[in-house]
C-alpha cells in the first residue's frame, strides 16, 4: 500500500486524506500527535454528548459507505436515557468493487479513525465499540491493533478516558471474507458469530435492535473520520464545504480507462464528472472516447456518454431552475448523481472508454454479485446467479434474441423484493447496462463467436 507516493492534485481538498502519502508520516501515534492528534477528542470531552450530535446534524454529514444516510439523523435514533447498552461499530468491510479509500485511512492514518470513533462513542454513549475490518485486510487489522494499544497507553481508551469518567473499549473484529458482511445487519450477525444473513427491517433496525438486540450505530470509516473534523471546525463551518445537503469532502476512487487512476479527496459537488476525468485524472487514454461511467461503486447504475440529464438547481434567489446537462457536466455529489439516475454510492468511479465491451463488463460485475450473494432470500440468490450465467453464455457465443429482455426482467424481479440492498446492488447494473446499451446486447445474438468463446473463466480476453 502507498508504494506510489503522489502529491495531491491541486483541485483536491485534503481533509480526511491530509496525511495519506505524506512523506515521513507513519501510522504511529507520534506522527499523529505531531499533527495535533487527539486535540479534537479533548475538545469533544468539554462538550455535552447531545451537543456533539447537534454539531454533526448541523454539519450535514452524510454516510460515506454507500447509502448516503445523514449521520446525525442516524445518531438521533438512539433514545435519550436508553437503558440497554449502546454499541458503535465501524464498518471497515470495504469491499464494493471500485472502492479503495478506507484501507488507506486504516493503513496510513489509523489514529484519525480512532479519534473519530472515540468522539462518536462519547456522543452516542457507546461504551463498547468494534471495528469490523474486512477479512482480506490482515495488515490493516495489525496496524489498527497497534494503534489501539497506543491509544490505550495514552489513556484514550479503557476505564476513565482522559479522567472524564467515560469508559470505552474498542475491539478489532476481522471479517468473514464476504461482501455481504458490509451490509450493516449482515455485519452485526457476523459479529455475533453467525452467517452474515442480513436481517429483515422492520423490525431489526440497528438503532433499535442491533448487536445483541441492543441499539447499535454502524458508521463507515470515512464517516467516522469526518466527525473529528466537524468537532475541529464546528458543524456550521463544515457545512460550508461542498454544497447544501452534500457537505464536506469525498474521497473518490477512480479506476478504469483514465490516465491517472487513484484516490482524490474533493469537495463534494465542486467538480463535474468531466473535470474529474479530464483534469484530475489527466484524461482518457490516447485516441479513446468516453463510453460509460459507473459513478459510485459497481452497484451504481451506469451512465452512458451522450446521455442528457435534467438537473434541478437552486438559484441564488431561492427558486429552482432546471437545466439539461450531459454526462461530463454532472457534478460529483449525492443529489446530482441521484438526479442523473445513479448514485454517489461508495465513491468508486469506474470509467470505461470505447474499447470496452458492455456485455463483458456486465458479466464481470454479474460474476461478482453471483459470487457474493449470501443466498438467504430467493430473488437475489437465484436471480444473481441466473444473470451471471446468462451474460456468460452470451459471451460464450450462445446468445439468443430474447436475452436482453430476459436479463431485464430477471433484474426487475430482484430489485425491491429482497431482504437487503444487495438486491438493488446486483440488479441495477443489469437494468442500466441493458437499458442503455441495448443494441450492443441485442447484437450478440447475431455474432459469430470464435470457437472456445471468450466468456466465463477467460475474463481477461475481452474482444
Amino acid at each position: 500500500m502507498g508504494t506510489v507516493i503522489r502529491t495531491p492534485h491541486p483541485r483536491e481538498k485534503r481533509i480526511i486524506f491530509k496525511n495519506i502519502d505524506r512523506p515521513g508520516y507513519t501510522p504511529g501515534i507520534d506522527s499523529y500527535f505531531a499533527d495535533g492528534g487527539y486535540e479534537e477528542l479533548r475538545k469533544a470531552f468539554t462538550m455535552k454528548p447531545q451537543d456533539i450530535v447537534a454539531e454533526v446534524k448541523a454539519s450535514g454529514l452524510r454516510g460515506r459507505g454507500g447509502a448516503g444516510f445523514p449521520c446525525g439523523a442516524k445518531w438521533g435514533f438512539i433514545r435519550p436515557g436508553e437503558t440497554k447498552p449502546v454499541y458503535l461499530i465501524c464498518n471497515a468491510d470495504e469491499s464494493e468493487p471500485g472502492t479503495f479509500k478506507d484501507r488507506y485511512i486504516i493503513h496510513q492514518d489509523p489514529h484519525q479513525l480512532l479519534e473519530g470513533m472515540i468522539i462518536s462513542c462519547y456522543a452516542v454513549n457507546a461504551r463498547l465499540a468494534y471495528i469490523y475490518i474486512r477479512g482480506e485486510f490482515p495488515l490493516g487489522a495489525k496496524i489498527l491493533e497497534r494503534a489501539l494499544a497506543e491509544a490505550r497507553a495514552h489513556g484514550f481508551l479503557g476505564k476513565n478516558v482522559l479522567g472524564t469518567g467515560f469508559d470505552l473499549e474498542i475491539y478489532i473484529f476481522r471479517g468473514a471474507g464476504a461482501y455481504i458482511c458490509g451490509e450493516e445487519t449482515g455485519l452485526i450477525e457476523s459479529l455475533e458469530g453467525k452467517r452474515p444473513y442480513p436481517r429483515i427491517k422492520p423490525p431489526y433496525f440497528p438503532a433499535a435492535l442491533g448487536l445483541y438486540m441492543a441499539p447499535t450505530i454502524v458508521n463507515n470509516v470515512e464517516t467516522l473520520c469526518n466527525v473529528k473534523h466537524i468537532i475541529r471546525m464546528g458543524g456550521a463551518e463544515y457545512a460550508r464545504i461542498g454544497r447544501p445537503n452534500n457537505t464536506g469532502t469525498r474521497v473518490l476512487c477512480v479506476s478504469g480507462d483514465v490516465q491517472k487512476p487513484g484516490y482524490y479527496e474533493l469537495e463534494v459537488g465542486a467538480i463535474t464528472l468531466g473535470e474529474l476525468i479530464h483534469d484530475v485524472c489527466s484524461g482518457l487514454k490516447p485516441g479513446r472516447k468516453l463510453k460509460a461511467v459507473i459513478p459510485g461503486g459497481s452497484s451504481a447504475k451506469v451512465l452512458r456518454a451522450g446521455e442528457r440529464y435534467k438537473l434541478k438547481t437552486k438559484q441564488p434567489d431561492g427558486s429552482m431552475a432546471e437545466r439539461e446537462i450531459g454526462i461530463e457536466e454532472v457534478p460529483m455529489d449525492f443529489d446530482s448523481l441521484a438526479a442523473a439516475g445513479s448514485m454517489a454510492g461508495s465513491g468508486g468511479v469506474i470509467v470505461m472508454d470505447d474499447s470496452r465491451d458492455m456485455v463483458w463488463a456486465l458479466n464481470n460485475i454479474n460474476e461478482f454479485y453471483a459470487h457474493e450473494s449470501c443466498g438467504q432470500c430467493t430473488p437475489c440468490r437465484e436471480g444473481s446467479l441466473w444473470m451471471k450465467k446468462l451474460t456468460a453464455r452470451m459471451l460464450d457465443g450462445g446468445a439468443v434474441p430474447a436475452d436482453p429482455d430476459t436479463l431485464k426482467s430477471v433484474a426487475d424481479n430482484i430489485a425491491g423484493r429482497t431482504i437487503c440492498a444487495f438486491g438493488e446492488a446486483c440488479a441495477w447494473p443489469t437494468q442500466s447496462f441493458v437499458a442503455k446499451f441495448r443494441d450492443e446486447f441485442a447484437g450478440y445474438a447475431a455474432r459469430n463467436v470464435p470457437a472456445g468463446g471468450h466468456g466465463n473463466g477467460n475474463a481477461e480476453s475481452q474482444p
Binding site: 450473494s373 430473488p379 446467479l385 450465467k389 450462445g398
Partner: protein
Amino acid sequence: MSDPVPLLNVQIDGIWHQFPKGTRVIEACAQAGKFVPRYCYHPKLSSPGNCRMCLIEMGMPKMGPDKKPELGADGKPVISWIPRPQISCAQDIAEGMGIRTDSPLTRECRHGVMEFLLINHPLDCPICDQAGECRLQEFSVQYGTAGSRFLEEKVKKPKRIALGPRVTLDDERCILCSRCIRFMKEVAKDDVLGFVSRGGHTYLTAYPGRPLDSNYSLNTVDICPVGALTSTDFRFKMRVWFLKETKSICTSCATGCNTVIGARERVIYRQTPRENDDVNSCWMCDYGRLNFHYVNSEDRLTAPQIRLNGTLETSDWGPAIVRTAEELGRFRPDEVAVIASGRMTNEELWLARRLIETLGTPHHDVVPRWGEGDDLLLNADRNPNTLGAQLLGVANERPGENLARIVARVRAGEIKAVLALQEDLLEAGFTAGDLNRLTFLLALNILPNPTVEAATVVLPGAAFAEKRGSMINAKGRLQRLNRAIAAPGNAQNDWEVLRELLQQLSGTAGPYVIEDVFKQIAGTIPEMRGLSLSKIGDRGYQLEDVEDVPAAPAPEPAHL
C-alpha cells in the same frame, strides 16, 4: 380478567376488517379469506422473511396537516401505499393499515419468486415423495407459468443424503426456506442443521459429525414445504394421494399427540402429527410416529385359538368365548386375576372393569410402562391411558402396585386363572414358570408373545389404528381413536370381545355399539358425565379435576 385485546381496522383488498392487535398481516389476510402464499413462514417458528413469496402491497393512513389520518368519501382513512412490496409474514397489523394481496404488483412478485424457485429445481415430481402435497407444485399451478425461459445449466447439489437415521435430504429440491433449521433450533433445541456455501450454491446440511438424530427429526419432513427432506421410512412407499387419512391419536405415551394416520387398503404407511395447541402443537416425536409397523406385521393374530391336548388350535369365536366362560366358572373369585393394560381404550377398560366385577375378583391391575421423558412431548409414562385405567377403577392411584402380590399368589397356588388383556405377563413380573403354573390363562392380544404361547385361549384383538374408542392423556384430556384400517382376518375389536365374554358370563345382553359403552361410562363416572364420543371432538375434551383420580364407583349390574 386481563384487558381485552383491542381490535384494529385493516383494509384488505378494499374491504375493511377488524382483527385483534398483535395479529400477523399474513394471518389477518388468511382470516379475511385472502390466503397469501408462503414457504418460509410457519406460525410456530420465527419469521426470517427469506422466501419472499408472501410479498404484498402495504400502506398506512395518509396523514393530513393536522397529523390526523385523512378520511375518504367513505369516512375511512385514505391509504398512502408504500411503493416497495412488503413481506406479510413478519409484521403485525396496525390501525388503518392497507393491504393488497391481489394487485398487479403482488401477482408479479409471486410470479417472479415462483420462477426463481423453479429454475434450479430438478422438477422431478414423478419420483418425488412430496408430489401431491408439495407447496412448490401447488403454488406453481396458482402463481407460476407452464413454460421456462431458463436456458442455463442448473446448479448441482448433494442428493440422497442421510441427514440422520430417519431423514433423507435432496439438496437440489431444497428451496432454502430454513424451516427445518429453525425447528431444530427453536423447538427441538438441537441446533444441528444449517446452510453452508453461498448464494445460489447454498445448501442444507447437518453439522459435521453430528447426525440429525433428534427424536423430533421427522417433524422437519412435515414442515419441509417441498420434497427436500423425506422420511427414510416412508420414502418411495406410497403416493400420498392414495392414502386415506384418518384422524387419530398416538398411543405410544401418555401425551396422546394428535395424528393423522395415512393408510391404503389394510396397510398403514405413515403417521403424521395433527395440530392441536392443547396437546402437541404441530409436532410429534419420531418414536411415536414410527411406532406403527407392528400393526402391519405378518405375525398378527388373525383367529381365536383354543388349547386342545396341549396344542393351540385355531377356533371360531363362539367356542373360544364359551370355553373361556366355562373355564372361569370353575374358579372361586379370588382364584382369578385380571391383568389389563394402560394401552386399552376407556371403553375396553370399562368392560374390563365390568368383567372384574362380574368375576368378583379383588386381583386386578395394569402393567406400568416407564421410559425416559423429555421437556417437549415424550411422557415418561409410555402407557397412553393410565389416567383412564385409574378413573375406571382397573388400576389404583399407583398403577402396577398389585402386580407383585398377584405374582406371589400365583406362585403360592392361590391364583389359578389369569386374564391377560393386551399385555404379555412377562412384562408384569411373571416368569415362564409362573405361566405354566396357571390352570387357565386367557390372552387377548394382537401379536404372539410368551403369554400368548402359554395361553389356554387366545383371542385376537385390534390394534390402535383398527378401532374406535377414547383415552385420557396425562393432562386429563379425553381424546378419540378412529379406525383407519380393518383388523386382519378374524380378529375383533377388543371391546366387542370383552362384551361377548361378559354376555357369556352374566347371561345378559351387553352394549350393541361403542357409543353405548361410552354412555355407560358417562352415566357412572362423574368426570365424564354428560359426554358422548361425538362430543369429544377431533381435538379432545379437557376433563376437570382429574389429577386425583378417584376409584370408579361400583357399577350397577343393571347396566349390563
